[in-house]
């Protein structure tokens, strides 16, 4: 499993977080911490305020459609300690995905959560201004979902590459 050059091991972070907020940790791998959806705000606040982990900045926020659930991915970073923490939150409800907004912890989530809501349809409760960002109000569906514009049984995604079996492409 690849990991960014300054990325903390997910298990270490999970161990520390679990010591403080046992209910929050839902699991961990080498590269990430899984956090229970409902306690995401407390967990992020703890990660931000902890002196050792010091996740001062929400570097990136996005969501992944896993067909039956959503994963909201937070890339946090500490500027002073120069490390990165990857946090996943699993949103189980595929039809009405909802997650507490982390805007109270990170103001940088303002536009990123709007973007996720616009394109992926994850509703962030407690967001001060949750409107669609790129698309207009009333746009049907959420384009980044895998089932968007799905045509009878066809799964989106590339099944294979045309010349893959023929070997290297000749220039």
């Amino acid at each position: 499993m690849p990991r960014g050059p300054r990325q903390l091991a997910g298990r270490d972070v999970a161990a520390r977080l679990g010591a403080a907020l046992p209910a929050a940790v839902a699991g961990a791998t080498d590269e990430r911490v899984d956090i229970a959806a409902l306690s995401i705000v407390e967990a992020l606040r703890w990660l931000r305020d902890d002196a050792e982990l010091d996740a001062a900045q929400l570097s990136n926020l996005c969501a992944v459609d896993r067909y039956d659930h959503f994963e909201v991915v937070y890339h946090l970073q500490s500027l002073d300690r120069n490390h990165q923490i990857v946090v996943h939150a699993r949103v189980e409800d595929y039809l009405e995905p909802e997650l507490p907004s982390c805007y109270p912890v990170y103001r940088g989530a303002l536009l990123q959560e709007r973007e996720v809501y616009d394109l992926m349809g994850v509703r962030f409760t407690g967001h001060p201004d949750l409107r669609r960002l790129f698309l207009w109000d009333g746009y049907p569906g959420f384009p980044l979902r895998k089932d968007f514009l799905q045509i009878g049984g066809h799964h989106p995604g590339l099944p294979g590459f045309p010349f893959e079996t023929a070997g290297r492409q000749q220039r």
Partner: protein, 367 residues
């Protein structure tokens, strides 16, 4: 007795000289003062993240050109790093150096554009912009020489760079690197101590370091607020740990500091290019990789210090030839998080200058 006038709504954009693209600010104004700011984006939305899920890893490189069309090289680089991290591809030494050279050239070109348009927003009649275009033009000539394109370069490849620069590239880049410090000195003389610019840009759009960090603001805007944060130092990708350069850090966090920081970064980029040219190793410029890359299932987040800030690419693989999920962390968009706080209460000209100093590229905001 008070004289009060009714607030009214002013649409700045989608077509407006200072929105640098198809970008709209919906502003509630009282006289010349802003009471509320709301940004309306999406006019340029092409849903690249969705399109990328239908194309192979290599086919996605040209898309990244078209997000931030003023810094195509940096975008190429960021995406290729993410794909390499995901697939575990090694990059030859020479390719890393070439990547550094082109990324830094791109940074100079992009900062020229940013500073030029910023002065334009402050009201100069195009002159500084034209000066800075002169240098940018030479850099674009170098790009054209190397990869045939000026704006949407599509130069980086997963595992290296597409082409070896032609022999005539080296004297041209040497000449450019030799004259750039003088040119930057010219801008400094013309603009840095200009009383009007000081009056317009100092203490306008101030951003405190704590706010900037908390609001995920990165790049020159963050550095102008006094935070010494640069991914080239913090997380040296390519060969940045081998070069000697500094990070300019501002003191007030106002528009003027952002301008100065960009100017100084151009100087530092020249230093890096010079060192990279001197130490350019020989060898292959690219690793051969399979035509259709099928990385192991997993995810990777790679980021580079783009001209506008942390340019991150989050790529998820499910083992297929196309990314399962492809997300671009667009610094232009995220740097706008605090626009409302910076602009409300100021006057219209100040808000325009603030917007100009954030250096947005609408192609990147909307993707």
């Amino acid at each position: 007795m008070t004289t009060a006038s009714d607030p009214y709504v002013l649409n700045i954009g989608p077509q407006h000289p200072s929105t640098h693209g198809v970008f709209r600010l919906r502003v509630v104004m009282d006289g010349e003062h802003l009471q509320d700011v709301d940004m309306v984006v999406g006019y340029l939305h092409r849903s690249m993240e969705k399109l990328a899920e239908e194309r192979t890893y290599a086919q996605n490189i040209p898309f990244t050109d078209r997000t931030d069309y003023l810094a195509a090289m940096s975008n190429n680089l960021g995406y290729c790093l993410a794909a390499e991290l995901l697939a575990g591809v090694e990059v030859p030494e020479r390719a890393s150096y070439l990547r550094v050279i082109f990324a830094e050239l791109q940074r100079i070109a992009s900062h020229s554009m940013a500073n030029g348009t910023f002065i334009n927003d402050a009201g100069a009649w195009q002159t500084p912009l034209m000066y800075m275009f002169r240098e940018r033009e030479k850099i674009l000539d170098l790009f054209e020489m190397t990869c045939g394109a000026r704006l949407t370069t599509n130069y980086m490849r997963i595992g290296g760079v597409a082409f070896e620069p032609p022999p005539e590239f080296y004297p041209a880049v040497d000449a450019l690197v030799a004259e750039l410090p003088d040119r930057i000195g010219e801008y400094t003389e013309l603009l840095v101590d200009n009383e009007i610019l000081l009056a317009r840009a100092r203490d306008v759009g101030v951003l405190s370091p704590a706010d900037a960090i908390n609001a995920s603001i990165t790049g020159p805007v963050l550095r102008a607020s006094g935070v010494p944060w640069d991914l080239r130092k913090a997380e040296p990708y390519c060969a940045y740990d081998r070069f000697d350069f500094g990070i300019p850090v501002g003191h007030h966090g106002d528009c003027y500091d952002r301008f100065l920081v960009r100017l100084e970064e151009m100087r530092q980029s020249v230093r890096i290019i010079r060192q990279a040219l001197d130490g350019l190793p020989s060898g292959a410029h690219k690793t051969e990789i399979p035509l259709a890359l099928r990385p192991e299932p997993g995810e990777a987040y790679a980021r580079v210090e783009g001209p506008r800030g942390e340019l991150g690419f989050y790529v998820v693989s499910d083992g297929g030839p196309a990314p399962f999920r492809f997300h671009i962390r667009a610094p232009s968009l995220i740097n706008l998080s605090l626009l409302r706080e910076m602009a409300v209460g100021s006057s219209l000209p100040d808000a325009i200058v603030t917007l100009g100093s954030l250096d947005i590229v609408v192609g990147e905001i909307d993707r």
